[in-house]
């Protein structure tokens, strides 16, 4: 840190502040810099929020490398790659939307934000397809519990048990090069897969939650854009949402190879 900060240089605030500058700021520049610094610090907290899951991943992979090699055969790499492309493309449209806002091109802002939202929704749909596959084969940790919460049946009756689909597991393990497992070995491997699936759902689930929040915020920003709230001197909401959206992309850039791409 040095003695000065660009925004420390106060302009003359002789009562000529733009109307969108809040009362406690001296200038639009100070307000913008504060928002941006605040956003970056928030992104820092997001990085550390995910750090727990990456740590979970690293520790389990270091101690049980075989489980990860087996486990990734249960994931659908083409779908994961497709989602990577979708998310990076949405990052591009987001960056273009910020640029358009800076250049006062409001119509472009609206279009680009809409495309970004559509990409986010596409990502979620594909994610949903992947989750559905896991659900159908009873690979979701705690599936019995979840099914019980959402079941319409009389809660008095004993809940239906969801055991992982043995045939499904066996097929995928054969793909991973484990042919002719006897029942005991198979049971052991199914048990081991629980932590892998735990990591998979924790990482992708938390990421998906961020995508959903991002889409929600983007919708708000889109409405603001349609109402013409942005311009070359007041695009902070677009810019900040953009930073958040890029961070979501950034995390996926790591999640994808770590979970899907294990040779």
């Amino acid at each position: 840190m040095t003695e000065s900060h660009p925004s420390d240089e106060k302009p003359n605030d002789g009562g000529c502040k733009a109307p969108h500058v809040a009362h406690h700021f001296d200038s639009a520049q100070q307000q913008y810099d504060s928002a941006k610094l605040g956003m970056w610090i928030f992104l820092l907290t997001e990085v550390l929020f995910f750090s727990g899951l990456f740590c979970f991943y690293a520790v389990y992979r270091a101690n049980n490398p075989q489980v990860f090699v087996d486990g990734h055969h249960f994931l659908n790499t083409p779908l994961g790659a497709f989602n990577t492309v979708v998310l990076i493309f949405s990052s591009l449209t987001m960056a273009l939307a910020v640029r358009a806002a800076q250049l006062d091109r409001n119509r472009s802002v609206v279009c680009l934000l809409a495309v970004t939202i559509l990409c986010g929704l596409t990502f979620m749909v594909v994610k949903g397809v992947e989750y559905k596959q896991k659900w159908d084969h009873h690979m979701v940790p705690g599936q019995t519990r979840i099914a019980h919460w959402f079941s319409d049946e009389n809660t008095q009756s004993p809940p239906k048990k969801f055991q992982p689909d043995v045939q499904y597991v066996r097929e995928h393990l054969e793909e991973a090069g484990h042919a002719d497992l006897d029942d005991e070995e198979l049971a052991q491997r199914i048990d081991n897969l629980r932590s892998y699936m735990g990591i998979y759902f924790a990482l992708t689930g938390l990421h998906a939650l961020h995508v959903i929040i991002g889409v929600g915020v983007l919708c708000v920003v889109l409405i603001m854009a349609i109402r013409g709230r942005f311009g070359s001197h007041r695009f902070t909401p677009v810019d900040m949402t953009g930073l958040y959206w890029h961070l979501v992309d950034l995390i996926w850039i790591y999640v994808f190879p770590l979970l899907y791409l294990i040779p």
Partner: protein, 120 residues
């Protein structure tokens, strides 16, 4: 903070004091193209086994992609260097957390395995 970072005023919007730098559209599209190339690379190399290098390759490519997103899409290259510092602090603390925890876990894990074998 570094004052030599490009000042926000150097942006090119003509009117007085734009709040931040406007990135050239060709740069954004170029970065997107490179990101797509890197994605293709990382997916295709995953079908080959480089042994211990697998993870290294995957993480390196991911870091390159992440750096591109951060530098250009997130404007870090044009902004106050302090923002980049904030992000790097986050990565550094992630590294600290992960490395010490892993060091410990790898150290005590053989003991856990030995205990599991004894009790089975």
């Amino acid at each position: 903070m570094n004052n030599s970072s490009p000042s926000p005023q150097s942006a090119s919007s003509g009117s007085d004091a734009a709040l931040a730098h406007v990135v050239d559209i060709r740069v954004l599209l170029g970065v997107f193209a490179v990101l797509m190339v890197l994605t293709t690379i990382t997916v295709s190399v995953s079908y080959f086994d480089f042994g211990a290098l697998n993870l290294f390759v995957a993480i390196s490519v991911a870091t390159m992609k992440a750096a591109l997103v951060a530098l250009y899409f997130m404007h870090l290259r044009y902004d106050n260097l302090f923002y980049a510092f904030v992000l790097l602090v986050g990565v550094a603390f992630l590294g600290l957390f992960l490395s010490i925890t892993m060091l410990d876990s790898v150290e005590y894990h053989p003991g856990v395995e030995a205990w599991q074998e004894r009790t089975q």
